[in-house]
């Protein structure tokens, strides 16, 4: 006999609303959704924290070359002479002199800096760090526009993830148990730094 068949017996009791179960489901699925972006933001965040020590997006590849010193003349003549002596790939896009003997030739994405009296030239090629450059591009919201909405939505979801995480588990391991101590420790650390700032 099929107990769920119509007229087979009393109607089953309505399932009670399980808030915590819903919370866990939301927490789990949001976690899947934001996992990738969290890693991107975390890696970029660590890189950008150390911006005093390095450029987290670009690195400059320098190559020094020496040539026979040449006389200081005008910009056009010096440019043509350097292109010939250093065997550069044609005339530069533009050139600039910082001082009479110092000239910089600009090509697409790279440049050559030379001191013609010292006979020293440095080729400089900025190169974007693979992956990290892209991560910083997103983290620092360089795309602007639509990405701002994505980043804002991510922020809200992350806050929701943190708050829902507090109430997922009951009992000894939950917020009323050791959870409250860990929460307090997590809040105490930034609070301490803010307190020291005001002293």
């Amino acid at each position: 006999m099929n107990p769920s068949a119509p007229g087979a017996g009393p109607a089953p009791a309505r399932r009670p609303f399980h808030g915590r179960r819903l919370l866990r489901a939301l927490h789990r699925d949001t976690g899947y959704l934001v996992a990738g972006l969290t890693v991107v933001y975390a890696v970029s965040g660590i890189a950008v924290n150390h911006i005093e020590d390095w450029n987290p997006t670009w690195h400059l590849v320098r190559e020094e070359r020496r040539f026979a010193p040449m006389p200081v003349t005008d910009r056009e003549t010096m440019t043509a002479e350097l292109v010939r002596v250093l065997e550069l790939p044609g005339p530069p896009r533009s050139a600039f002199r910082r001082a009479p003997e110092q000239i910089e030739l600009f090509y697409d994405g790279w440049s050559v800096q030379a001191d013609v009296t010292a006979g020293v030239a440095s080729t400089m090629r900025p190169s974007e760090r693979p992956l990290l450059g892209d991560a910083n591009h997103l983290h620092l919201n360089h795309p602007r526009g639509a990405w701002t909405f994505v980043a804002d939505a991510y922020g809200f979801l992350l806050a929701g993830l943190a708050i829902s995480g507090l109430f997922m588990i009951r009992g000894r391991l939950g917020l009323r148990g050791r959870g409250k101590w860990l929460l307090a420790a997590g809040l105490a650390l930034p609070a301490l730094f803010l307190l020291l700032r005001r002293l």
Binding site: I51, N55, W58, R93, F96, S111
Partner: protein, 156 residues
């Protein structure tokens, strides 16, 4: 069928709409709004006339902050002259690849008086970088330093 025709017409309108050409350049910060265009040579010759005013300069980007992209040097209409454009760290980031491109920059012209101790420290550092002996006589007292506090730029 009518809906399909409407959708096709909308798509065609979108595709035929004017798009930003590469020559229009990349906008940074607030971009440029049309403040008074001043030559770098004019700013260098009469800086105090422009202190506190919003100015716009245009020129070749000769250098970019290698770490944060928080400043760039824009060459003027005369040789050996540049003007530094400083932006708030992280708010605007100029890419290293901007070097050699032409920038139009807007911002407030600022003046700083550098104390003699800092001038000496700076010239000593410069001499070390160039590998030449530092000459204390080159420090003649406090120096004025001018820059544009950039609010926006277009680089092309």
């Amino acid at each position: 069928m009518k809906r399909l025709a409407l959708a096709t017409a909308a798509l065609a309108t979108l595709l035929s709409a004017p798009v930003a050409r590469p020559t229009d350049g990349t906008k940074y910060g607030a971009g440029v709004t049309g403040a008074q265009l001043v030559k770098v040579s004019e700013l260098r010759a009469h800086p105090d006339r422009y202190v506190g005013k919003t100015v716009r300069v245009e020129g070749l980007v000769t250098d970019v902050c290698p770490r944060r992209g928080c400043w760039m040097e824009v060459a003027g209409d005369k040789e050996f002259q540049t003007m530094r454009v400083k932006v708030d760290d992280g708010v605007i980031v100029f890419p290293l690849t901007a070097k050699g491109k032409v920038a139009t920059v807007e911002g407030v012209f600022e003046k700083f008086v550098i104390p003699v101790e800092q001038v000496e420290a700076w010239k000593r550092h410069e001499a070390e970088e160039k590998g030449v002996a530092f000459d204390p006589k080159s420090v003649k007292g406090p120096e004025n330093f001018y820059q544009i506090a950039g609010t926006g730029a277009v680089i092309r």
